[in-house]
Symmetry: C2
Subunit: 124 residues, 2 copies
């Protein structure tokens, strides 16, 4: 039984999602104990949605599921890394491979990655 420290952060821990092949960081989401256990059981990344107050399995709407190849846990037992195979063209609901598609240039943000799909066709 793996015991993570969900208490310290009020029940939710951050899950960093990394492309297993390229190492690119795709997104960050949150997990409660139930989301973590469902992810372990199904090998499909499942998170806790703070805005919808419910579990969500990535890809339910978009088809862009994340197949979990490896899970790493940090020294404080309060953050995880999921190394995943990302289905579809990207993880971000804005149409990018990664949610981190903007970079800091001086005192502004600029888009640094190409958009790879039309979010209006995927998230209906």
């Amino acid at each position: 039984m793996i015991e993570l420290d969900f208490e310290k952060t009020g029940g939710l821990i951050p899950a960093i999602v990394q492309d297993a092949a390229s190492g690119q960081i795709l997104m960050l989401a949150y997990m409660n104990q139930a989301a973590f256990e469902k992810t372990l059981e199904t090998k499909k990344a499942t998170y806790y949605s703070r805005s919808r107050d419910m579990l969500w399995t990535k890809g339910e709407t978009s088809g862009h599921a994340q197949h979990v190849k490896e899970i790493r846990v940090d020294c404080d037992l309060d953050t995880v890394v999921l190394k995943v195979e990302q289905a579809g063209k990207g993880a971000c609901h804005k149409g990018y491979k990664s949610c981190f598609y903007r970079a800091v240039y001086g005192d502004e943000l600029k888009i640094a990655d190409p958009q790879v799909f039309d979010p209006e066709k995927v998230y209906k």
Copy 2:
């Protein structure tokens, strides 16, 4: 001026720290507005310590500073990725390159990376 959404999460946002050269995820820490601005200004990763309730620049005690090469920001403006050059042998206060040195194997955690320094000699 870059405006991140510190309010949604009560003043602190997660900062994922990634080795700029290898793509390895080194750690996760938290930033408030002041930590983010100090990091932008100095290019040395500076975080907010929840346990000590103060800003801390990584490496002050250990010498293991993080020189920031690039900052990425996510679609919701509430998480950042720092791509860094990690000084010294590692980022983790337990003596590993990465805080994520343990992996899930079945229903237990196992150490998956080599220890690269003696933490008792570095954190005195």
